[in-house]
């Protein structure tokens, strides 16, 4: 197996607190890996290390054979990234933004133009290419972000909640694009809270909690370990929380005063 993403003892300590326990992972080309975990589990920290933004960490990490600490520039040339929170320059148009991203990747203007136009049209943004993104909804911005992440044909895609805010048709399109990119040999690191999507899209699922990997395998393998008929949501809840949510909700309401429930 030729790993495109390789982590060896990857960990991070922040202000004396271990936010990421040592992780050893190999992700080959053509695999879609779902990276799941509750808030604060260390998902975004892992992603930021792998895309070469955070340099203070222990252990080693390689993307496409390049050390992310020593050669972050080479890593950045080969990856695409969709961040969790969609933030774009509102006062420029999607085409201007994509031209900026493409030029930084040293792409030809003509190629940027043709790819951007085609991709934006497929996302239903025809006629909006030259409009400033000021009035764009979250979903429209997410489409631009996704296009910006793939426009330079990267080998590895890091997606942090890429479907957030998208309409149903766009969700179906992105899911299919992810599947076909994986078939074309791209590695996809998919971080999300949407269990049903991860269950359908990902070949392999990694569940993380408090910086520690709790489970790693295909959905079928996780079911074998945790219970045959369980959904991914059940498995996730069991591994990361293990509490009775109904009892917790009752307790939550009771904190308002015992008469609230009685009423």
């Amino acid at each position: 197996m030729n790993a495109v993403i390789k982590m060896r003892g990857l960990s991070k300590v922040y202000s004396g607190k271990q936010v990421l326990e040592p992780i050893d992972l190999d992700i080959p080309a053509g695999e879609v890996v779902g990276y799941l975990g509750p808030n604060g589990a260390g998902k975004s920290t892992t992603v930021k290390i792998l895309i070469g933004v955070t340099k203070e960490f222990n252990g080693s990490a390689e993307v496409c054979g390049f050390d992310v600490r020593k050669e972050p520039l080479e890593v950045k040339k080969r990856i695409g990234y969709v961040p969790e929170v969609a933030a774009l320059y509102d006062s420029i148009s999607p085409l201007e933004y994509l031209r900026f991203v493409g030029r930084v990747h040293h792409m030809d203007d003509a190629l940027i133009e043709s790819r951007a136009t085609e991709m934006l049209n497929l996302f239903g943004l025809e006629g909006e290419h030259q409009t400033p993104m000021f009035n764009y909804s979250k979903g429209m911005k997410q489409k631009v972000l996704f296009t910006a992440a793939v426009i330079h044909d990267p080998s590895v895609l890091f997606l942090d909640e890429p479907l957030s805010g998208l309409d149903v048709n766009a969700v179906m399109l992105v899911k299919e694009v992810i599947a076909q990119l994986a078939k074309a040999g791209k590695a996809i690191f998919y971080s999300s809270h949407m269990m049903d999507v991860v269950q359908k899209v990902c070949d392999r699922i990694i569940i993380l909690d408090k910086g520690k990997v709790l489970a790693d395998g295909s959905f079928a393998e996780l079911q074998e370990q945790q219970g045959k008929n369980k959904s991914l949501e059940d498995i996730f809840s069991k591994l990361t929380s293990g509490v009775d949510h109904v009892a917790m909700a009752t307790k939550f309401i009771r904190s308002l005063g015992s008469d609230v429930l009685a009423a």
Binding site: T54, K55, V85, E96, R103, V104
Partner: protein
């Protein structure tokens, strides 16, 4: 005393000030990492001791000008010496304070947390004003210290006391102006255009202030015919003259002229301050804050450049950029500056001021030779524009700057050099083209050459000022004033003074050929500076520019885990 206390209590009750709420708000705003109007995150808090020393050192060359006025070296009249000192103080302090005051007052980042709570307008306004009082007092103290020392040495403790009172009155007057501008804008400008409206009013005010000061200080009769000038009625409308009149009245004996000025100095700032607070405390302040958050669908669409200008901008970008990445930054920054009101707020008044002074010089000195102080006022009025290049790092769209960290820039310096080139091409070159053309047409080649030298100085200062920046449009604009106070940020002043002195010496000693030689050397220095700027690799900034809603927590927690 009792009367004053009664008036104070009545005003506090009338404005609905709530001491408990004020203390609670002030406590929250003092916490490190709080990003609201009053403070900056912990990582941008300057070290006060070094800041003090740095401010004194950096303002010294300008503050000494005020001292000259007080010491009477240039001015035989005590009153006009004071007018000169107060003009210098107000021109140095006024723009900085107006900017800080507006940004603190109009901060909408706390809207979601505060506007639904039962807090009166008076309380909210008072907390915001108090939060900038310390900053303003410190800055004013740093600027006016040499003048204060000169006054105390010449006239004793009473002079110092009256001078201190005049500074407080100056502060109140500037707050009143800020509030009045906000109030007028709120009443007469569409919600989506409020920021643009405030920008326009402040620009007009600043151009007027700069123009009137320029008129006063470059008019030869100001120095020569002093006693005549001091009887002119227009001094009653010139705020530095009010304050000078107050000191003149207290220390040099009572005349009808200085009595009127002293009364104006005492009453005008106080009355305008109380009136503005009174008007704002009745629900208008929260109305202004909520109007500033215009819903997206009713907001004004960002302006687009005409096609020919877009083409010209792209051609300039291709001509000036070293490679594709720098060109990408150039094009992006050119588009962003089009709609960034923070940059416009700073740049337009100075462009207006420079054009105003250029027009003044042409009108007043067109029949005679151009030289001396007038020549340097003509050439160097746009120097403050150079400092404004730092504004390119601050944007309302700073959240979008995460892409600068993720994209494969060969060096981070490419971002800063591309952005600096936009600033120079868009703002500095056009204004200097006007100055060059007017200088050459009215006074001949010598003035044009001196203007060219000044342009080289301004460009070099521009590169210097953007040296420590992380990226273009990557920081929260509300941290702008705090960022400006960081140690080293005022180091442009000694550089400017050094280069201007070199210019004066070259012009005086070697004449036109000296200036030409200077231009060649400066051209080389600019090229070297740009090359070094491009090859810089700045440290990654995990907090600012990263698209993280909880950025304020990032100072205490790992970034977005």
């Amino acid at each position: 005393m009792q009367v004053l206390a009664d008036v104070g209590t009545r005003l506090i009750r009338r404005w609905g000030l709530d001491g408990v709420q004020m203390a609670a708000l002030a406590r929250v705003q003092r916490r490190p990492g709080h990003g609201g109007a009053a403070s900056a995150p912990a990582d941008v808090q300057p070290r006060p001791r070094w800041l003090t020393v740095s401010l004194y050192l950096e303002f010294a060359p300008f503050a000494v000008l005020g001292q000259i006025g007080i010491a009477g070296i240039l001015f035989p009249s005590f009153f006009l010496g004071l007018v000169f000192s107060y003009t210098v103080i107000m021109l140095l302090f006024g723009p900085l304070f107006l900017r800080r005051c507006t940004t603190a007052l109009l901060d909408t980042s706390e809207n979601r947390v505060l506007l639904h709570l039962p807090i009166s307008d008076g309380t909210l306004l008072a907390v915001r004003l108090l939060s900038i009082a310390k900053h303003a007092g410190f800055l004013l103290f740093a600027i006016s210290l040499p003048t204060a020392i000169a006054l105390a040495a010449r006239l004793g403790a009473v002079a110092l006391l009256v001078f201190g009172i005049s500074l407080v009155l100056t502060l109140l007057f500037l707050v009143a102006i800020t509030l009045a501008i906000c109030l007028v804008t709120l009443r007469h400008v569409k919600p989506a255009r409020i920021k643009d409206g405030i920008l326009a009013f402040q620009a007009v005010f600043f151009i007027l202030a700069l123009g009137v000061a320029g008129l006063a200080l470059t008019d030869p009769s100001f120095v020569k015919g002093m006693p005549e000038v001091s009887r002119q009625a227009w001094w009653y409308f010139y705020p530095p003259a009010w304050m000078a009149g107050l000191l003149d009245y207290s220390l040099m004996g009572k005349t009808r002229f200085n009595s009127v000025l002293a009364a104006t100095a005492a009453l005008a700032p106080l009355a305008s301050f109380v009136a503005c607070i009174q008007l704002f405390a009745g629900g208008r302040f929260t109305e202004l804050l909520s109007r500033l958050e215009v819903p997206r669908n009713s907001a004004v669409t960002p302006k687009r450049l005409p096609k020919w200008l877009t083409r010209l901008s792209e051609q300039i970008s291709a001509l000036t950029s070293g490679d594709k990445q720098e060109r990408a930054v150039f094009d992006l920054t050119a588009k962003l500056t089009q709609n960034d009101w923070g940059t416009k707020w700073y740049v337009y008044p100075f462009i207006g001021g420079a054009l105003f002074n250029c027009g003044l010089c042409v009108v007043m000195l067109r029949h005679g030779p151009m030289g001396g102080l007038a020549l340097f006022v003509y050439c160097y009025t746009p120097i403050c524009l150079a400092v404004g290049v730092r504004l390119i790092q601050y944007s309302a769209e700073w959240r979008a700057a995460w892409c600068h960290q993720v994209l494969p820039f060969a060096k981070q310096g490419v971002i800063t050099s591309g952005a600096t080139k936009v600033y120079i091409c868009k703002y500095l070159l056009p204004i200097y083209l006007v100055l060059l053309a007017a200088g050459a047409a009215v006074w001949g080649a010598a003035v044009a050459l001196n203007t060219l030298f000044a342009l080289a100085v301004v460009m070099l200062v521009c590169v210097h000022c953007f040296w420590g920046a992380t990226a273009a449009y990557s920081k929260d604009p509300w941290l702008m004033s705090k960022g400006f106070e960081k140690i080293g940020n005022f180091m442009w002043l000694p550089l400017v003074v050094g280069l201007i002195v070199t210019h004066i010496v070259l012009e005086a000693v070697a004449g036109t050929w000296g200036v030409i030689g200077g231009i060649v050397v400066m051209g080389g220095a600019i090229m070297v500076a740009f090359r070094r700027l491009r090859s810089r690799n700045m440290p990654a900034d995990p907090v600012r520019g990263w698209s993280d809603e909880n950025r304020h927590l990032a100072a205490c927690k790992p970034p977005s885990t």
